[in-house]
Each structure stands twice: as structure tokens, then as C-alpha cells.
């Protein structure tokens, strides 16, 4: 499996990029050449490769004289943390909904799929913005909002698979042996939808990171003191004409990270479940 995964050069590229991002997210401040919060108004908006007091600003400085590279490294943490945590929340909600709706497709199933359709009818970004505006920006709120507004895809795919699986002999056998609904759902159905969950999750991480950065860009993500790629792009927005690097570089980091995750997700999809090619991401 791992060997087959590594046979795709693009997937290997994706893995290598993610390795760098993960290392940046974990070690953040220790890798950063400067303190990411350190302001130096005298050397504001310096272009890349400018000499600073304590060394070279390889990627320049922002409007407050903070080192762009250092903020970029530390900013990886929020993106990755929010992306992963929000996907865990979505998966918990979506898989539960999907399994229940597929296994018991009369009243409960219909009601659950009704909730799915309601969710789909609400433009996600505005819902997320409104919830953050009501509850206030914090890391926990952001993860909860993203997680609770993006579970629909799990619910739909898992329900469709459960509808097929529950007619198979091994489920019937389990039922004949006296297994109750919770046991069938958790021990027999859940393991069989595992591959789909892995594929959806890997692709959803990429979307979540994009969503997180959009919200941070609009100032409704995490509190502004924490460096995020979305927040950095927002900071650089007003200086785009004469200091392009402040907004351009964090966006590039975001873009490459999302491409890398999508490459890994695409490879996993090809290997684990080719049927999911039609996934409506």
C-alpha cells in the first residue's frame, strides 16, 4: 500500500511539502529566524533579502516591520491545527449521520437527510461568519463552526454506502447472531466505510485550511494576535501596490500547502476507492 502510494511522483511531492509544513507547525518559533511578533517600525515593508539588525529578512518585512518568513513559519500552525481538528469534528458528525441514516432509512434517516439538505441550502461562509460574529473569534469557536458546517459530504457518501452494505450477508449473519444495532453499526458497518472516510477527510483538510484562511482574512478567524496565513494576506492587502510580498508570499504558502494535501488525497482516492472519483467536492 505504502509502496503503491509512493509510486506517484506527485503524491511524493505532496508528502514532502506536508513534511515541511508539519515541521514548521510543530517547531514554529524555534525555527523562525526572528520573533514573529517583534515589531520594528524603522524597517517596515522591507523587500525580500533586506539586511535587518539581527540578520537577513529573507522574505522581507510587513507594515509593522515584522519578519515575513518567521510569521509564515509560525502561521502554519493555525492552518494545520484548525484544518485537522475541524475535519475530526465533521467526520464525527457526518459519519454518525451517514451510518444512522443508511441503517435506519425510514423516519430517522429521512429526518437526518432533511437536515443535510437544510445545511446545503445555507451558504457556508456567511453561516460561519455569522456564528463567529455571535460567539466571538477564538480557536475553539472556529474549529466548531468549520466542523459543524462541513459534515454533509460524509453523511451523503456514508449513507449511500451503508444502504448497500446493510443488505450484505455478513450484516444479516451478525443480526442472526443477535447483534444489536449499536454493535452492527460500530463493529460491522463502520470498518467497512473506513476507506471512504479516509479519502473524504484528506480532501476536506485542504478545504478546511482554505476556509480557515478566508475567515482569518476577513478578520473573523482566530484572535488577530496569532499569526495566520489568512491574517497575513489581510495585513498585506493595503500595501499590495508597493509591497507585494506581504500579501503574495503567505498566499503562495497556502496555495502550495493545499495543492500538496489535494495531491495526497487524490492518490489515496485512486488507491483506496476508485468509485469515489465522482465525489462532489
Amino acid at each position: 500500500m505504502i509502496r503503491r502510494f509512493l509510486r506517484s511522483r506527485l503524491a511524493v511531492f505532496g508528502l514532502l511539502v506536508m513534511l515541511v509544513v508539519v515541521v514548521a507547525a510543530i517547531f514554529g518559533e524555534r525555527l523562525a529566524p526572528f520573533d514573529p511578533g517583534d515589531q520594528d517600525i524603522m524597517s517596515r515593508l522591507q523587500p525580500p533579502f533586506s539586511p535587518g539588525d539581527d540578520g537577513m529578512h529573507l522574505l522581507g518585512t510587513d507594515a509593522l516591520g515584522r519578519d515575513v518568513l518567521s510569521r509564515l513559519i509560525v502561521g502554519a500552525r493555525v492552518s494545520l491545527l484548525v484544518g485537522l481538528a475541524a475535519v475530526v469534528v465533521s467526520a464525527l458528525v457526518g459519519v454518525t449521520f451517514g451510518l444512522l441514516a443508511g441503517y435506519e432509512d425510514r423516519y430517522l434517516g429521512r429526518a437526518l437527510m432533511g437536515i443535510t439538505d437544510i445545511q446545503l441550502a445555507i451558504p457556508f461562509l456567511v453561516l460561519a461568519l455569522a456564528v463567529v460574529a455571535v460567539l466571538g473569534p477564538s480557536l475553539g469557536n472556529l474549529i466548531a463552526v468549520l466542523g459543524l458546517t462541513n459534515w454533509v459530504q460524509y453523511a451523503r457518501v456514508i449513507r449511500a454506502e451503508t444502504l448497500v452494505l446493510r443488505e450484505r450477508e455478513f450484516i444479516e449473519a451478525a443480526r442472526a447472531m443477535g447483534a444489536g444495532a449499536p454493535r452492527i453499526l460500530l463493529r460491522h458497518l463502520l470498518p467497512n466505510v473506513g476507506p471512504s472516510v479516509v479519502v473524504i477527510s484528506s480532501l476536506l483538510v485542504a478545504k478546511m485550511i482554505l476556509f480557515e484562511s478566508s475567515l482569518s482574512f476577513l478578520g473573523l478567524g482566530v484572535p488577530p494576535a496569532i499569526p495566520t496565513w489568512g491574517g497575513m494576506i489581510a495585513d498585506g492587502r493595503d500595501y499590495i501596490a508597493n509591497a507585494w510580498w506581504v500579501a503574495a508570499l503567505p498566499g503562495l504558502a497556502l496555495f502550495i500547502t493545499v495543492i500538496a494535501i489535494n495531491l495526497i488525497g487524490d492518490r489515496l482516492r485512486d488507491l483506496l476507492d476508485p468509485r469515489l472519483k465522482q465525489l462532489e467536492t
Partner: protein
């Protein structure tokens, strides 16, 4: 036709009803909504007066019933900032957003259909890889960053296009394009894989063996069937486009509902948010009904059900 439409319309109404209930609770998840609407420096007496004026001091059931009754008539209360009916404000901005989303949808279809067809007929060649790359890049672009980079290049550096506003078609190019990128990626990928599937089917082989020209086989026989599964996704993309328009409009200072919604959030003008979410849901649900019906009409196998 009526039997096709009626159950779907009833279901759509139920979904909208659900959206209205969600919107009602949206401003109440943090407790008493009065504090949300008023500035932090409001006095306790102000808050109490406002709470009574808005009816927030009544029982939750009474508030919900009242809200739903008014919402059914399109009345979402007045915007506190503009002192106008919230729904009227949203409706006034709606044509601009619909125009932007429609142009974006046309752009993504015009781009993705040829790419997907070329990739599918040249499967596993460089052209196919290029098509997959387009789809990957399209799905990975942070829209707001792309928008800023377009402004940087085409407005600031080259001076070719205006960076903001609405009125001329030149002001529509950049917002519509940046909005279209994501959908282009998705439609390309799905259409490509359903084209590949269709091109291997028996009726395509039959059509070829009858001596019909290859392009006619591809464009008439294959494409028509490959489009069917893609249509659902295009329907879902309309929702994504309307949602994405929020951020695109904000960056290009495009006067649509999305920008209004962002400003409303900044101004704590929650009646506008409620009206906006319900109206968007109405548009999305209507399009899904249309797609559903179109799907059935396009695929004769589904008609007899």
C-alpha cells in the same frame, strides 16, 4: 410534469422552513440577542428597552412563531443601521450578485467543458495530465488571494482593468474570473471522468461503427450523456458560487448581497444576515429543484419512476 414538480416543491418548502428555524436560532446561540445588536457601550436601560421593543422578552415559542409568520411574508424586520426593511435591502443588491455568479458559472463551463472533453479523448496523455493539473490548481487556489494577485497584476502593474466597482463589463472580468476558478476545477474533473466512462459504452461504439464522424460521436452522443451526472454538481456549484461571491465581492468592492452581508456582520445588523441567508437558501433550493427536474427530463430512464 406536475407529478414531477409537486413533491419536489413541497420538499423544498420544508427545507426552507428548516433554514428559517436555523436562522432564528442563529442569533440566539449566544443567549439574549439584544447584546448582539447593540454597541458594547449601551446602558442596561437601553438594553431593556431594546429587548422589549424587539420582543426578545417574550417566550421563545412566541418569538419563533412570530418570526416564522413574518418570514413567510418576507418580513425580517428593519435594518437598524439603514432603517429600511432588511429584505428590501437584500433584494436591491441581489441582481448584482446573480449577474456576477451567472457570469462566473458561464466562464467555468466555457473553460471546463473543452478541457474535460480533450482530456477524456486523449486519456493518459500529456493533454489529460494538463487537464487534471487545471482541475487540481482550480480547486487549490485561495480565492481571496487570487483576487488580490489579479488586482496586483492587472490593475496596479499593468493598469488594464479597474480594481473595484460595478457598472461596466471590464469591472466584471476579474471578480467573475476569480469566482469561476474553483468551479472550473471541479466541473473539469467530474466531466472528464464521466466522459471517459461514456466513451467506453456500447452505444458510443455503435455510433462509431455506423460511420458517424468522431466529433459528432463525441459532441452529440457522448457529451449529452456525460453531462447528466455533471448537472447535479453544477447545481451544487451554484450554492458554492453564491457563497464564494461573499468574499469576492468584498475584495473587489462589488456592490452585491455578499458585501452587504459582510458589512452587516461588521455592523452587527443581524436582521440583514437573517434575510440574506433565507433568500440565498431560496435561490439554492429553487436551482436544485430545477436541476432535479432537468435531470429527469434529460435521462429518459428516470422518467418512468
Amino acid at each position: 410534469m406536475a407529478s414531477l414538480l409537486l413533491p419536489r416543491l413541497v420538499y423544498a418548502m420544508l427545507v426552507l422552513f428548516g433554514v428559517a428555524i436555523a436562522v432564528f436560532f442563529l442569533i440566539r446561540i449566544g443567549g439574549d440577542p439584544s447584546a448582539l445588536f447593540l454597541p458594547p457601550e449601551a446602558s442596561l436601560a437601553d438594553i431593556a428597552r431594546f429587548r422589549h421593543q424587539m420582543g426578545f422578552d417574550r417566550s421563545l415559542t412566541a418569538q419563533l412563531l412570530d418570526f416564522l409568520g413574518r418570514a413567510a411574508q418576507g418580513d425580517f424586520g428593519r435594518s437598524l443601521r439603514y432603517d429600511q426593511p432588511a429584505m428590501q435591502l437584500v433584494l436591491e443588491r441581489m441582481p448584482a450578485t446573480l449577474q456576477l455568479s451567472a457570469v462566473a458559472l458561464v466562464i467555468s463551463i466555457v473553460l471546463s467543458v473543452p478541457i474535460a472533453i480533450l482530456a477524456a479523448i486523449h486519456r493518459d496523455t500529456l493533454i489529460d495530465r494538463g487537464g487534471l493539473l487545471v482541475s487540481l490548481i482550480g480547486q487549490s487556489f485561495p480565492t481571496f488571494w487570487l483576487a488580490l494577485m489579479l488586482i496586483l497584476i492587472f490593475s496596479e502593474k499593468l493598469g488594464l482593468l479597474p480594481p473595484s466597482g460595478r457598472g461596466t463589463w471590464r469591472q466584471l472580468i476579474m471578480p467573475a474570473f476569480s469566482l469561476a476558478v474553483y468551479s472550473t476545477g471541479i466541473i473539469t474533473r467530474l466531466l472528464r471522468s464521466s466522459m471517459i466512462e461514456v466513451l467506453q459504452s456500447d452505444y458510443v461504439r455503435t455510433a462509431r461503427s455506423k460511420g458517424i464522424s468522431e466529433w459528432r460521436v463525441i459532441l452529440v452522443h457522448a457529451l449529452r450523456n456525460a453531462v447528466i451526472p455533471t448537472l447535479t454538481v453544477i447545481g451544487l456549484q451554484v450554492g458554492a458560487l453564491l457563497g464564494g461571491a461573499v468574499i469576492t465581492e468584498e475584495i473587489f468592492a462589488y456592490p452585491g448581497v455578499g458585501r452587504l452581508a459582510i458589512q452587516a456582520i461588521a455592523n452587527r445588523d443581524f436582521t440583514i444576515i437573517q434575510a440574506f441567508v433565507v433568500l440565498m437558501a431560496l435561490v439554492i433550493v429553487s436551482i436544485n429543484v430545477l436541476v432535479d427536474v432537468g435531470y429527469t427530463l434529460l435521462d429518459p430512464r428516470l422518467r418512468t419512476r
